[in-house]
């Protein structure tokens, strides 16, 4: 297939995934901020949402401080934030439009329909309830798009590149949450914050929609190191780093088999997965959770760049 087509499919998938991720962050933050102040973590939850979204420098250039109003506006609707939910969906739709013939009608419908409906949401008049409905709607768009891809696409390179987009973006998003929140997962903070941190931990779980999954996997109350284990190493948990790399490696291998040629992206991704498979959460804590996450973010974007070099340009 055309490199540009593959590139646009890949980015369409990434932007839809990113829109959903932003919706989850906003949803979890709203929940956290509505708790009485001594449960919520000192009113810094909106700063934390901005940091997690990865657009802190643009945000603080436009706003002196973070509060519900301006973070909601910036992350969800702002035309000035290239990664606002609105822009993510618009860019995804623009990309999809350019490669419409490579997508199924259902996938196009999901994005084009979303783009048409998006105009109806007026952020100026939006109360909390309407905003919550908007976030639900965003998650639904992503589910519909992803579900359409899964159920209707031919299993060929177009599908595999879309899965790579989802994998790389998910790995990046989950790692960002950990990057911002790692300190509340460290063992010593338990003494500092005590059980008040429980709400921070559950917020993290909600951001990756794993609040229920946690209990099924570990069958015990929420413990910070297990939250880290779930998000980093658990291959059953769809948004964990390890599961993301399962996806990336599998689809890179399918592409390599179909094209009859392996390259640097296959090798790099396999090395990432091997590292995650061999790691134990204790070891990660011992050698430094923050360093681990920082390295991961760097390596993940390097894999993304290698995929682009090998196939997309």
């Amino acid at each position: 297939m055309l490199s540009r087509t593959a590139d646009q499919i890949y980015w369409t998938a990434r932007y839809v995934e990113r829109a959903e991720f932003l919706a989850r962050i906003l949803e979890a933050t709203l929940r956290l901020s509505s708790l009485p102040s001594n449960y919520g973590g000192a009113g810094t939850e909106w700063d934390s949402a901005v940091l997690t979204s990865g657009c802190a420098s643009a945000f603080y250039k436009a706003h002196p401080y973070a509060d519900e109003h301006n973070v909601r506006e910036f992350l969800a609707f702002s035309p000035d934030n290239p990664s606002s939910i609105r822009n993510c969906l618009a860019i995804a739709r623009t990309n999809a439009r350019a490669v419409r013939t490579a997508l199924t009608v259902e996938m196009w419908d999901a994005l084009n329909g979303a783009w048409l409906e998006l105009r109806q949401f007026d952020s100026k008049k939006m109360g909390r309830e309407d905003f919550a409905r908007f976030l639900d709607w965003v998650k639904n768009v992503s589910l519909t798009f992803d579900g359409s891809a899964y159920r209707t696409m031919l299993r060929n390179d177009a599908y595999w590149f879309s899965r790579l987009g989802v994998g790389i973006e998910r790995a990046d998003n989950t790692a960002r949450i950990l990057d911002v929140k790692y300190h509340v997962l460290l063992p010593e903070t338990e003494q500092v914050g005590g059980s008040l941190d429980y709400f921070q931990w559950t917020t993290i779980l909600r951001e990756v929609s794993a609040h229920t999954a946690y209990h099924w996997v570990y069958r015990q109350s929420v413990q910070p190191w297990l939250v880290a284990d779930l998000l980093i190493l658990n291959r059953q948990m769809p948004r964990s780093l390890a599961a993301s790399y399962d996806t990336i490696v599998r689809h890179l291998d399918l592409i390599a088999d179909a094209y009859g040629r392996r390259g640097p992206s296959q090798r790099q991704a396999r090395a990432m997965l091997d590292k995650l498979a061999a790691a134990k959460i204790d070891g990660i804590f011992q050698s430094g959770l923050h360093e681990f996450i920082t390295d991961f973010l760097r390596d993940n974007s390097r894999v993304g760049a290698t995929i682009a070099e090998q196939y997309l340009i």
């Binding site: 297939m1 055309l2 439009r97 419409r100 196009w108 084009n112 390179d157 196939y311």
Partner: protein, 471 residues
């Protein structure tokens, strides 16, 4: 001047081809028709059939209004049109071969040399060059208007990159979904084999020394082009890659496309970008849409461009005025399809007649298209007429004039109910190495404003499904 209504509205007698449709329209409850109209609009919006209007910043994607009342052409009428179209397109190809080759028609005095040589679309790069299979115009859209029961005129020839065929196909698709009962009652010639015919045509013109399985691509300027929807629709139906200039590159006079599996050779390019933008090394150096070196590959005979470079000469309205003679010169036959009588303002006698009769004439720029830059005398204000008078005196050769034709009308949904509106017809004619293909019908465009004669979508025109009834 009462226009000829194709259904026969206004003079009491419904024409036979329209009887069943008229009966159905009379019996269908108005709520049902309203529902079907909104379903049609919903369908078009959902599948994303939109077009962009240049200079319109508010809403860059708009729907072309679709009217659910079909336009009907009988088998007998189509048979004549079909023969006339084939004759005309063969003549266009012969004419282009000639003006880039021996120039016999110029030497024979059929057409003045300066109309060719000074034509902005005449490409000196093509002089003395051979194009694959000697075909220049592979895809053409010949605009036809009708003035009475027996008279069809060619209004203009579109030999560059005519658009609209996706509407022909999608209009039919929508009609078949919404009105299955009408399709059961009529024997309507299908149009959905158009993409197949187009692909066969494109494959037939691959370079002679080419490969057994030629790689055909469709070259688009990109998604901000007004016809992008059509480009992507056609690429999908053809099963060929939709490429942008940056997807292609030329090495050693061979065109390749960049794919995830490395470079892949390209044999035939159905290009939907204008000559000017094809190759920044030959034409406009500022073009970011084209492919550097493409012209060299083309002139080396390693790739076929459809349509060929330089076909725009035929779109010129002054050249158009010579088409009857051109047809006769190359085919030795009388033209089956007539031209609209045309005054060439470059000729002093014609100019003085035109200047004296501006309020009753239609004046067009010889290189205009899309309904821009024209004067419709009877509908113009004094001021517009004065300003055209100045333009005409300043540059007579830049204009032609025609009588204001009473274009035929077809019943159409209007705010006031069903009312006659003027229509034209754009059939799409394909010329391959193995002959002419033309699916029955074409795109019917309708001027939605009462009395308006301008059917262009950029000027508020709409479209209709076009039925050619099988005898």
């Amino acid at each position: 001047m009462a226009a000829f209504d194709e259904m026969g509205l206004g003079n009491g007698a419904v024409r036979p081809a329209y009887r069943a449709l008229k009966a159905w329209l009379d019996s269908a409850p108005s709520e049902l028709l309203d529902l079907r109209r909104s379903q049609a609009e919903h369908f078009f919006r959902r599948v994303g059939i939109t077009f962009a209007v240049y200079g319109d910043t508010q809403d860059t994607e708009r729907l072309i209004p679709f009217d659910i009342i079909p336009r009907i052409i009988t088998a007998g009428e189509w048979a004549i049109l079909r023969k006339g179209l084939e004759q005309r397109v063969n003549a266009l190809n012969a004419f282009l071969r000639d003006v880039y080759g021996p120039r016999e028609c110029i030497r024979a005095g059929i057409i003045p040399a300066e109309l060719v040589d000074r034509n902005p679309f005449y490409r000196v790069e093509m002089i003395g060059r051979k194009v694959p299979h000697d075909i220049y115009v592979h895809i053409s859209g010949i605009d036809i208007v009708r003035v009475d029961a027996d008279t069809f005129y060619v209004l203009e020839d579109n030999a560059r990159t005519p658009s609209g065929v996706s509407y022909m196909l999608e209009n039919r698709e929508v009609m078949m979904r919404l009105f299955p009962e009408l399709f059961a009652e009529h024997r309507i010639a299908p149009v959905d084999n158009y993409p197949d015919a187009l692909l066969a045509t494109l494959r037939s013109v691959a370079p002679e020394a080419g490969r057994r399985n030629p790689n055909v691509v469709l070259l688009t300027p990109g998604q901000y082009n007004s016809a992008f929807y059509e480009h992507s629709f056609l690429a999908d139906k053809l099963g060929v890659e939709l490429v942008e200039g940056s997807d292609l590159y030329v090495r050693d006079d061979v065109v390749y496309m960049r794919t995830t599996e490395g470079p892949q050779r390209v044999d035939v390019i159905y290009r939907r970008i204008d000559d000017d933008f094809l190759d920044p090394l030959t034409f406009r150096p500022d073009s970011a849409l084209g492919v550097p070196g493409l012209m060299n590959a083309y002139l080396a005979g390693n790739v076929t461009l459809a349509n060929a470079v330089g076909t725009g000469v035929c779109d010129d309205k002054a050249v158009y005025s010579y088409m009857p003679e051109i047809v006769k010169f190359f085919s030795g036959e009388e033209p089956i399809l007539k031209n609209v009588p045309t005054w060439r303002c470059r000729e002093p006698e014609a100019l003085s007649y035109v200047l004296d009769h501006l309020p009753e004439l239609v004046v067009k720029e010889v290189n205009g298209s899309g309904g821009y830059g024209m004067l419709v005398g009877p509908h113009a204000t004094q001021q517009q007429i004065q300003s055209f008078r100045k333009k005409l005196k300043h540059d007579p050769a830049g204009f032609i004039a025609q009588p204001t034709l009473a274009l035929s009308t077809c019943p159409t949904f209007a705010a006031s109910g069903i009312a006659p509106r003027h229509v034209d017809l754009r059939p799409f004619v394909l010329s391959g190495a193995d002959g002419i293909r033309c699916v029955p019908g074409g795109l019917t465009r309708v001027a939605l404003k009462e009395g308006s004669l301008v059917v262009n979508s950029s000027q508020g025109g709409g479209t209709k499904d076009t039925w050619v009834l099988d005898a």
